[in-house]
Amino acid sequence: MSNDAAGAGWFETVPPDDLDAARDAIETGDADGPADWPARAVDAGFARDESAYYDALHEATIHATRESVEERERADDQQLIHSVRAMDDCERTANELAERAAEWAGSLFDGVEPGIEGAREVAEREPTGEIEERAISLAARAVDVAGERDAIAGTIERVAPAVAPNLAEMAGAELAARLIALAGGLESLAKKPSGTVQVLGAEDALFAHLSGRAPSPKHGIIYTHEYVRGTRPEDRGSAARALAGKLTLAARADHYAGERRETLHDDLRERMATIRGRADAPDGGVDGGEESARSGDGDEPEESR
């Protein structure tokens, strides 16, 4: 698979013995595919021979990885909250700008598609005149903001597992960040009862229910989790309750202990298997009451919430 089209090796822009430049190249670089990097490094004069290259690689990867780990562990829940809010702002703003740019560009050019993809096409046009220049420039700004949204999403993916390893593993990085943001911090999330976690993000529906106008919401933001969304509607309340219970425990483990708890994840998987197993039961699994009374993991009858 080694070929010149693969891209540049991590060492190619790094002066020898510059560990910080090496860290930057290791952390942020990429390539379409691998190549015979040791040989290329020797050819490029980066290292005297293969052995010297591996020595340099060892030193550089240890340094880069140690610094990255420390940086991610310094990041805290508040940074995650800023990130997730900024990501949502970018997404909303990018869509608004793209819509405006598409409408404007549609009056100037033929075949303008709506959305970010449409803006991307408009942004690549060559303007002829001041008006076109403004419309195309606006489309380019929309694309930039959409790119920033994706970059922030990448940062959340990397930071969330450091801030809350169990929560991020269970919920995924983005949902973990959203739960922390909705609660106002990892500590306050850890102190919430699981019934509250279950409906975080469904405050409108919850208050409608409390003033007697609606049934109680079964789930809030955790609806985005596959365990809830991928469960058949009649079992979603149970799934949401089971997931919220374990998410609460995960947040507590992350806040108070900070260590990964394998059993938490296994317990949830087993519980979900049971809930989803109802769909395969001969009677359609309508009667879940008896089974939930046995399970004893906080899975009380749905009506009690």
């Binding site: 891209g7 990429d30 390539a31 015979d36 990097w37 990885t65 780990v69 991610r72 450091a162 990964r260």
Partner: protein, 212 residues
């Protein structure tokens, strides 16, 4: 030593009165040692389990290795003891702290804080034509991870994969999960051997494969 499938640098040694798999190197996680040999516990390591069960891993010692899902470095430290250059990819920062401790005294072990699902983020570091990919990642789409990383493997190289059934789908029977994973794997590999690792790791399948 009596087992022909053990690579050079891995031996069965008498440690604490028991004959155990062992490699020679600095202790990493408080494992028992004797005469500079560190016991390799097949219960804590999928690859250790595969060797103990006698799968034909094709390992001879001295290989260039890409290890996906290195976690805190328990297994990869043993691999680096008998293999050549070893690239250790792990995405979660906390275990990587321990991985760094294992990598410090092993000058051909290269720790990388990267996501194994995104090989383009480390293709500028990991060399082409590695002899072995060892994979032990506990996320959904384990076979897809292996397929995406096939680009690193030499044509006659080996993939040593442990598939964890519960990471894929808890509601399905492990055998169904393994069947699906093997189907996906065949997009890029010929599967040479499979073996349940249940004696050491519940609901895990050990797979030896080579690129198509």
């Amino acid at each position: 030593m009596t087992n022909p499938t053990l690579p050079d640098g891995v031996e069965r040694r008498e440690i604490d009165g028991e004959t155990r798999l062992a490699t020679r190197g600095e202790p990493v996680y408080g494992e028992p040692t004797a005469d500079g040999w560190r016991a390799w516990d097949p219960r804590r390591s999928k690859l250790g389990g595969m060797l103990e069960l006698g799968l034909d891993t094709g390992l001879a010692g001295g290989e260039t290795v890409l290890y996906l899902g290195a976690a805190s470095g328990t297994t990869v430290s043993h691999v680096a003891d008998f293999a050549g250059p070893t690239y250790a990819v792990e995405f979660a920062p906390r275990p990587v702290r321990d991985l760094l401790d294992a990598a410090g005294p092993r000058n051909r072990l290269f720790p990388l804080l990267k996501d194994a699902r995104k090989p383009q983020t480390y293709a500028h570091i990991v060399e082409s034509d590695v002899d072995v990919i060892v994979q032990d990642v506990a996320t959904r789409g384990q076979a897809t991870v292996a397929v995406r990383n096939a680009q690193f493997l030499a044509d006659d190289g080996r993939l040593l994969l442990a598939v964890k059934a519960r990471s894929e789908d808890v509601t399905a029977a492990p055998d169904d999960v393994f069947g699906e994973a093997l189907d996906r794997l065949r997009d890029a590999y010929d599967v040479l051997e499979t073996r349940r690792l249940d004696r050491f790791h519940e609901d895990h399948l050990g797979v030896v494969a080579t690129p198509k």
